[in-house]
Amino acid sequence: MKTSKIILVFILMFVISNCMSVKAPDNWLPEPENISEDVYGAWITLRLDDTDDYYFLGGEFIGYEQKTVLLLNENGLSKIAIEDIKEAIIDLYKRETSSLTWWTLGGCVASVTHGWFLIISMPVWLVSGIINSAIASHSGRFAEENPDDDWFEAVKRYSRFPGGIPKNIDLHALKPKQINKTD
């Protein structure tokens, strides 16, 4: 394998593992094993079209009603109409992708010591690393481009209020989830 090709594969591997990396703040998402007792909504990231440039908005998925997504972050509550949403990503729990990438990288470097078997071992490391990174980075995640009403109706079960927004509460007084800094 030529050096340039190896570099390309590494780049691909890092792109796969990092481009889908969780956009929630550190320690915001629950560990997978704690999700069944977690009382907050999933983390939702919305890509909005802002004429010349794209921008992202992220926060706790509070609910979905009347074609509007409600999300809550440190800046308060936002209500976004679905026609303004170009892409939505919902992250349910914490995933480990970077360690897998570094592990694969280590394996590739170590395969240099394999002599001629480098021809076999390095591609095996690369392929399994890329596939693993891709799979792990999508675990616990739902993503949709130009999400429609049906999609949000389907995923609102991952919001704080899956049964709809409660009628008699002051939405702007909702408190965001406090991050456990000690984790």
Partner: protein
Amino acid sequence: MRIRSLFLVALLLPTAIFLFSCQSYNLTREVSEVKKSASIDHQSEFIKIHKADGGVYVLQKWIVDEQNKTITGTGILYDHNREIQDEGYLQIPYNEILLIETNVLDPSLMTEAFGGLTLVSGALTVYCLTNPKACFGSCPTIYAWDGKDMSLQAEGFSSSIARVLEEEDIDALHSLKPQNRNLEIKVTNEALETHSIKYLNILAARRHHDSEVFHTHSNEFYEVANLQPPKICDSDNGDCLERIKSFNDLEYYSETDSSDLAVKETLELTFDQIPDGKLGLVLGYRQTLLTTYLIYQSLAYMGSKYGDWLAKLETNNSNIKDFTSKSYSLLGDLEIYILDENQKWKKCGSISENGPIARNLELASLIDSYSLPLKIQIRMTRGMWRIDYAAIGQVINKVEPQRIFPIEVSKDEVCDESALQRLHDSSKYLVTFPGDSYSLFFQLPEDYSNYEYFVESKGYYYEWMRDAWLKEESQENLFAFFFDSRNHFKKLAPEYKKIEPTMDKIFWESKYENK
């Protein structure tokens, strides 16, 4: 020795990582109303009970008391801001409950469960062996009395080709003619598949004598009267009115494009007889064998790695599920467009139900506004759908159907108490194998002739790998199938065209039956 060791390390280490480090999970979150509390998934370590005021109970141990209409257990009550309001032993009356949520996280790779999937097919016909992607298959087939015979009327959870894709399915028993209050439904496994049925119930929706009840894609039920077929039906192949004006075996369908399986076509319907009141479009339809072919083709590409892929699907819900659904979404649903007052085509709904066997009869779309004459377009992938019926009707009101559970199950005319218990216990499945046939008995309401009946089923199934498919194993083609679907469907088009004319015949002749 050194070389051999290095070789082993090179091969085994990444495999070990693959198996042990990639502990991606499969999260199944069920959200249901309190009336389904009896079917709470007890695999869930906790349940969350959502209140209408935004509060939520999290219970670790709980009991559902159907008689007193309460759920009791130990846990914590949080308010809408997630501040603790109460904890300890809690009793929650049904009328406080908005939704019940369960979460099951399954980290297991399930490799062993799939080890036996690569099985030899020895029972199919010569046709099937020579043309293996036309073999009969498609989830549990459901037979009921049509006045003359036990005829095929529905197929259960046809999209659920793996446990992770398990979902509820509702199908109209459109030809059912109950003789009395005792209804028998035959549930069969006629393909090389393993079926796992969580439940199978009858839904009875009351109607007036001059109306019918139809369900929508979102499983709502409406009473509809005064159905009117279109006056004109235009298609790319010319006039199609004869084929769609009544619900019978005469269906409209076209052949796929020879260069691209994803090419679309449009049916245009013109209605001149418009019933009064709110309108709805009723469609009778089913799929052709195109999706069956594509599913089998993807399984053929997986080949001996089918078990691995299923394990990945089961343990990486959102990942591979996304890839597969994106791939099949290229083919799309039946999309309904209506010509509005401004003479612009406006999308007013879409429906889809997988499966080439039983015809679906559904309320495809509610129509809010239109111009006269009323024009509706059905846009769909060429060669993928068979349209049997289209009519507009007056939507009278929404109906809440009554759920009827099976009271007896028999296999080979012998009462099977265990099967009945499995269908009543939401933590268990009735598992069936090729050739199995169960009779389920239900007691209908006293005035049974005043209802429309539907079958509600939930479960999943696994296709068995066929010897003949293994020859096409190709990870390269598999990746192209899922990641470059648009081009790959073009590549597959000529091959599909070769077998398209004979697929139907082969499919029906390859049904697996116990002789």
